[in-house]
């Protein structure tokens, strides 16, 4: 043990309390340490972020002066009543909800066969390639993917050109393309947890199922699917809430009559801030309800 020989020259244990007052004080008081750690993050998050959210919520109760169109502090529920009484607002909320649910369903429908193929059929080499292949577009950039979908489905674009060969035509910009674009954007968030969950299913469950005479599809239906529920729910939280808050896809590939909740918030924030503020409660409410429903299933804790 040659290293112990140099130790005494480096520090003298009995002198430590005198030389390190800060360390000693912190070591004796765990609450103080915790406070020191949390002070900065909490000041930032509460003082800036929660403060801003609260202020926005308060604005939702304010009035807009009909003559000067200036915002005036006060208390009115009119802005919230507008969410339910204005038919355009109601249909936008329902449309956005429908789009978000469709994106989630579409992602799940493709994520399950992809996951089964990667985990159970592909060779290890192919599995590694596929894992990179579904992660790569995640990094390619949000707007890049919207640009890509726009030039794929535009009037003189690739899709119409290929469909033209067999005499067909693409649907043109509209809600179906918005759903497809949002699926394109958020699909990896569903595909990765589903694939991981399928890989984690113990191999002997498949053996047992086969020994008991189940064919492949029966095994998938009765063994794989129930075990996938937590992963599907975790993935759906992403696909649902990300789609719900999006409005740029609708703006660039949606054509007319496809605006989403975000479009209304964005277009009202300068003209009528109280209405925009009231409307921003809608996606928050949808996401919170969705989280509460999924929490009841207990799937998130098991992840």
């Amino acid at each position: 043990m040659t290293s112990t020989a140099s130790a005494p020259t480096r520090s003298e244990p009995q002198a430590v309390p005198l030389h390190r007052p800060v360390s000693t004080a912190l070591h004796r008081r765990p609450r103080l340490r915790l406070g020191a750690l949390l002070a900065l993050p909490l000041t930032w998050l509460v003082g800036l972020y929660i403060f801003s959210l609260a202020l926005l919520l308060i604005t939702a109760f304010w009035l807009v002066d009909p003559f000067t169109s200036l915002v005036r502090p006060g208390f009115t529920l009119d802005n919230f009543a507008l969410l339910f009484s204005n038919p355009a607002y109601v249909s936008t909320s329902l449309r956005t909800l429908g789009i978000a649910l469709a994106v989630t369903a579409l992602s799940a429908v493709f994520a399950i066969p992809l996951g089964i193929f990667m985990a159970k059929i592909a060779s290890p080499w192919m599995r590694a390639v596929l894992a990179v292949a579904i992660t790569l577009p995640l990094w390619a950039g949000y707007l890049v993917k919207i640009v890509a979908m726009r030039i794929t489905f535009t009037e003189e674009g690739f899709f119409n050109s290929v469909a033209g060969l067999i005499g067909g035509r693409g649907p043109g910009f509209g809600i179906p393309i918005v759903i497809l674009t949002l699926t394109y954007l958020w699909f990896p968030y569903m595909a990765l947890p589903v694939y991981t969950a399928i890989r984690q299913i113990p191999v002997n469950l498949f053996d047992a199922s086969a020994d008991l005479g189940a064919q492949g599809w029966t095994t998938i239906r009765t063994v794989v699917m129930p075990l996938l529920t937590p992963a599907l729910i975790a993935g759906s939280v992403f696909t649902f809430s990300l789609s719900l808050g999006d409005y740029l896809a609708a703006r660039f590939v949606g054509g007319p009559n496809s605006q989403m909740i975000g479009s209304i918030i964005a277009s009202n924030i300068n003209l009528n801030p109280p209405v925009a503020a009231a409307f921003s409660v809608v996606p928050i409410a949808f996401v919170v309800i969705y989280l509460l429903v999924t929490r009841r299933t207990g799937a998130l804790e098991r992840m």
Binding site: I121, A133, I134, V203, A210
Partner: protein, 269 residues
């Protein structure tokens, strides 16, 4: 083993091929159209040229936008590294009343739609700080980006700290090292890869962010996503957007490579 007939395997293979075609054909179209001589992206491409690449290479707005994105990304990453690491230590080492709430606070800025976060910040900047004589200007973007990037660092560092034993730190302090020395020599080296990975994710998130930026960028200042957004609205420069998008697609190979490298480094540790 999962017993599947030949037909079922082929069916699954076909679905996987459809998914891959759906993922990669649009990206290929962007890359091919960046060499389209025409003003508007179309298929089939009538004439190829590198003129949009030449225009992009010398474009002052693009250069300024890239610079802004890097500055904002670095600023946000520094904020996220500091606040994310501090809260990861607090939540992984202590149990206290309200722990779940603190966790929720960290996740909230990314969980809520970007438009809500953006509108909330711009409302505060314009209706509280500005009348009080505080012009956040350029820093508004950095503050907003830093806020939703915290979770990236937090998640990575938190996961690592939970797996680390506090005994090594105790041992270090018993041997006479102070809190700073222990952190520098014992604690930090153990979560360095998670710290770096979190920082990279935070930077990537900020670099790509557009909705919050729309509401918090000062007038006349474009980040790269904002530049793309504004140029997309001008149909005559469609293929200039494709050049920038192509560069971004190629750049996305870097984080994929780094994450592979990091996970290998993690296995070695």
């Amino acid at each position: 083993m999962l017993r599947l007939g030949r037909g079922s395997k082929i069916a699954l293979g076909v679905i996987v091929s459809i998914v891959l075609i759906f993922m990669y054909v649009p990206l290929m179209l962007v890359m091919v159209n960046s060499f389209n001589d025409s003003r508007i992206a179309a298929w089939p491409v009538q004439a190829f040229s590198t003129r949009w690449w030449e225009i992009a290479a010398t474009s002052e707005p693009i250069r300024a936008a890239v610079l802004n994105s890097i500055v904002v990304g670095l600023g946000a990453t520094v904020i996220a590294l500091l606040l994310g690491t501090l809260s990861a230590f607090a939540l992984s080492r202590y149990s206290f009343f309200g722990k779940q709430t603190v966790n929720l606070l960290i996740v909230l800025p990314i969980a809520l739609p970007g438009v809500v976060t953006g509108v909330a910040f711009s409302n505060t900047f314009n209706s509280i700080l500005s009348p009080a004589g505080i012009q956040v200007g350029y820093f508004g973007m950095i503050i907003a980006h830093g806020t939703f990037c915290i979770v990236m660092v937090f998640n990575n560092v938190f996961a690592r700290l939970r797996r680390m034993s506090p005994n090594l730190q105790e041992a270090s302090m018993d041997l006479g090292a102070g809190i700073g020395q222990t952190f520098r020599l014992v604690t930090f080296p153990q979560f360095r890869t998670a710290f770096v990975a979190g920082g990279l994710l935070a930077f990537a998130l900020s670099f790509d962010e557009v909705v919050v930026t729309i509401f918090t960028a000062p007038p006349g200042v474009d980040t790269l996503p904002l530049w793309i957004l504004n140029t997309m609205a001008r149909p005559n420069e469609g293929n200039l957007v494709n050049v920038v998008a192509t560069v971004l697609i190629l750049l996305s190979l870097i984080p994929v490579y780094i994450s592979q490298w990091l996970s290998r480094a993690e296995e070695d540790e």
